[in-house]
């Protein structure tokens, strides 16, 4: 069974601080997606990482895919209150018919205090 474990589960920091959250699995994924979800809203796609060792930057957010494609990290530089939200990682699982569903982590709930 492919599982995604995210840590920490909760994180509360002050504006301007840096942080890193993690998404780990014992299984290899062909890609991993990071989503951000606000209360009462649907997940919003931030990025997809595909190649082992890949680093992608989205303004102050840096995403890295592990060399073995079993883990990923999200680093936020100089966090802003607007970064507050639930950060979810998800990975595709293909079935025999080549259809794809997403397996999800529980998320890291980030609160950035002004």
């Amino acid at each position: 069974t492919q599982l995604l474990e995210q840590s920490p589960q909760f994180l509360s920091i002050q504006e301007g601080e840096n942080l890193t959250v993690y998404c780990n699995s014992s299984s290899v994924f062909s890609s991993l997606q990071w989503y951000r979800q606000e209360p009462g809203e649907g997940p919003v796609l931030l990025v997809t990482v595909v190649t082992g060792g890949e680093v992608k930057k989205l303004k102050r957010l840096t995403f890295q895919f592990g060399d073995a494609r079993k883990d990923s990290s999200l680093h936020i530089t100089a966090a802003q209150p607007g970064d507050t939200g639930l950060y979810l990682c998800a990975g595709p699982k293909f079935n025999a018919g080549n259809n794809r569903k997403l397996i999800w982590g529980l998320g890291t709930s980030l609160a950035v205090n002004p």
């Binding site: 890609s31 569903k101 997403l102 397996i103």
Partner: protein, 115 residues
Amino acid sequence: EPEVTQTPSHQVTQMGQEVILRCVPISNHLYFYWYRQILGQKVEFLVSFYNNEISEKSEIFDDQFSVERPDGSNFTLKIRSTKLEDSAMYFCASSEGILAGYEQYFGPGTRLTVT
């Protein structure tokens, strides 16, 4: 920018009643999905739909659940006889393809409350 829309945003129903959750996927997308998220738990896959038929369904998606694409734009999830444990956020998603680069885009969700 195209987006997935869902209606209603909140549905309250009594146990045993039928509910239909509606979704309008992004217009050029071919793959459609329903997921649910029980409060405090992981997002869970329910069903995927392609070419007017179910591609895959989870153990959660039992005989009480059905999906339909009644016309060229809507994609619906029906729960025939709701149970208390069906209370959750239900998300519709769509994608253009299934390979990396064809990612799933999610609607804002329908909060279903079964009393």
